[in-house]
Amino acid sequence: MTAFLTRLLGRLPVGYLQLTHSPGRLLAALAGVAFANVLVFVQLGLAGSMAESVAIPYRLFQPNLLILSPVESETLTDAATLPRQRLFQALVHPDVTGGTSIYVGRSTWISGHDASSSIQFFGLASDAGSFLHDALAAPLVSLSLSDTALVDTLTRFVDMRGFVGATPDAPVPFEIQNRQLGAVGNVSIGGGFGGDGVFLVSDQTFFHLFPQRSSATPSHILLGLAPGADPGRVAAELVQLYPPDTVRIRAVTDAMAQEVRYQMTERPTGLIFAFGVVIGMVVGIVIAYQVLSADVADHLREYATFKAMGFRQSFFIGIILEEAIILAAIGFWPGLAFSALFYQTLAYLTNIPIFMTPERAVAVFVGTILACALSGILAMRKLAAAQPADLF
């Protein structure tokens, strides 16, 4: 290792030799860096999982659609509604080929004596097939029978094993909102931060479950576009058809991106995650600074000697950065391993979509290097105390 680093640096790896000379301090430093990494990874993982769980329900729909939402709706599951009239008004636009209404409602499913899950219901019209993800078109047909549902096999807090493989010929009965429903198929969506599972039902079944809702006031409206039509232009033209400030019209993918941004930057949870990342970085910088500045303090005589020999400031910066980068580059891996394990455990226990992404690992690695380098630069100030004149 020393020979390799000597070739790499073009000088003896003094920083590396210094770090490995006190294994206790090195281990403490690595544990500190790893710990800070875990803090950051956990926060980023939760934030990423929130973004992912926000995005998942949008993927029920074809991506190349426009979605009409009430102006007050920031999310797909807000309670606000808009008049179905808006759908018929849109159909006059030459590039709009069709549309369907989406009804969204939430209910609590008591599945055992003390087991309950918050279920997000999507009520879909029988003609919704062409607006939904390809995989949903076929199962949608089986919802035409009243009081049937496609149930989410990833629903939290419920043992869903009995529902796997439910078909229209062998429906699995369950009770929700004091109504007897039959599961006739499965989806795999899973809970997020806003709910524990997603069930799809026909609009008729939806109105049975939520009698106060009516077909005249959907939650959102999906519009299909003629091939080659520019969604941005069509959206801008459609807005003109409606009374001002009554509808938001966006491509499904834009609506999804906007809700992710909204959840991350305007809701407390998103801000807490961002704050957690900052805390993690501060913890890492402080730990690395402690170790590096203690190391400088312990070697003041040696550094003063090097100064007397004629080494320049750049040499000392090099040594401290060498130490910082070694701490970062080694401490990162146990941090990564722990975090990946944590993600798996959390995903297993809660069913939230949390997993390590290569982008996140690379970003945290680079961030760790930069944070440790910053600690090194801060620790450098102690170097001024090394006075070669005092050596004699």
Binding site: A3, T6, R7, G10, R11, L12, V14, L17, Q18, T20, H21, H299, R301, E302, A304, T305, F306, K307, A308, M309, G310, F311, R312, F315, P388, A389, L391, F392
Partner: protein, 240 residues
């Protein structure tokens, strides 16, 4: 004498400022010829170390003049002093070795100050010098596993390895036994003869005085005696 590598004129030095200011050197005048061995003597607190650190670019020269290797040190900036220090070798009373570097690596640092170079060549040069100083068997020892005398010899090798123009040594033989102390000073003399390396050394060791070309005695910050040593084989410089 040969051309002077150090010329000190009217050098005063003060520690501290204002009321608390204390004068450590008074009107010191001295010229040191190339290749010579000059010994500084004098009671403790007489200013020997102060003079050494001023000539060695480790302290700023505030008044008078010190010409070192044809550069004026009075008012010289830090960059020039760092550059000049690379042409000097220091042997301190304490060895000041780096505790995480082996004997060889400590000596190699004396070469690496001059920039990138072939590490294998640096290692060979270090090994050669350590061999001359009787440490051929201890190349890979950390300072913690060397005796005091062995550490001091490593420090001497580190000062000599880059072939400095001038060696400044402050009681370098204090930690050495008689034999290796003499051997080290013989090595300085040898380098003076073969390479023109100049040595300025603080010592009280009477046997080393026998090897001196020149003996300068300080008392209370003043040079009180400046006379040729027993080994002098050249005329003294004209008084400055």
């Amino acid at each position: 004498m040969t051309e002077p590598v150090i010329t000190v004129r009217h050098l005063d030095h003060f520690f501290g400022e204002g009321e608390a200011s204390k004068q450590a050197l008074f009107d010191v005048n001295l010229a040191v010829g190339r290749g010579s061995l000059t010994i500084l003597m004098g009671p403790s607190g007489s200013g020997k170390t102060t003079l050494l650190t001023l000539m060695g670019c480790l302290r700023e020269v505030g008044s008078g003049s010190v010409m070192l290797l044809e550069h004026e040190l009075c008012g010289a900036d830090e960059a020039l002093r760092v550059d000049l220090r690379r042409r000097l070798g220091f042997v301190f009373q304490a060895h000041n070795l780096h505790d995480s570097l082996t004997a060889r690596q400590n000596v190699m640092m004396g070469l690496q100050v001059h920039g990138r170079g072939d590490p294998a060549r640096h290692a060979r040069a270090a090994d050669h010098l350590l061999g001359l100083l009787g440490l051929g068997e201890r190349l890979h020892y950390l300072p913690g596993n060397l005796s005091g005398g062995q550490k001091q010899r490593v420090a001497i090798a580190r000062a000599l390895v880059s072939n400095p123009n001038i060696i400044f040594a402050d009681e370098p033989t204090a930690a050495l036994d008689k034999v290796s102390g003499m051997a080290a000073v013989q090595l300085f003399k040898e380098l003076g003869r073969t390479r023109g390396t100049t040595t300025v050394m603080v010592t009280h060791d009477p046997r080393i005085l026998d090897l001196a070309d020149r003996i300068v005695t300080l008392e209370d910050g003043r040079i009180v005696r400046d006379h040729p040593g027993p080994a002098r084989n050249e005329p003294l410089a004209a008084p400055v």
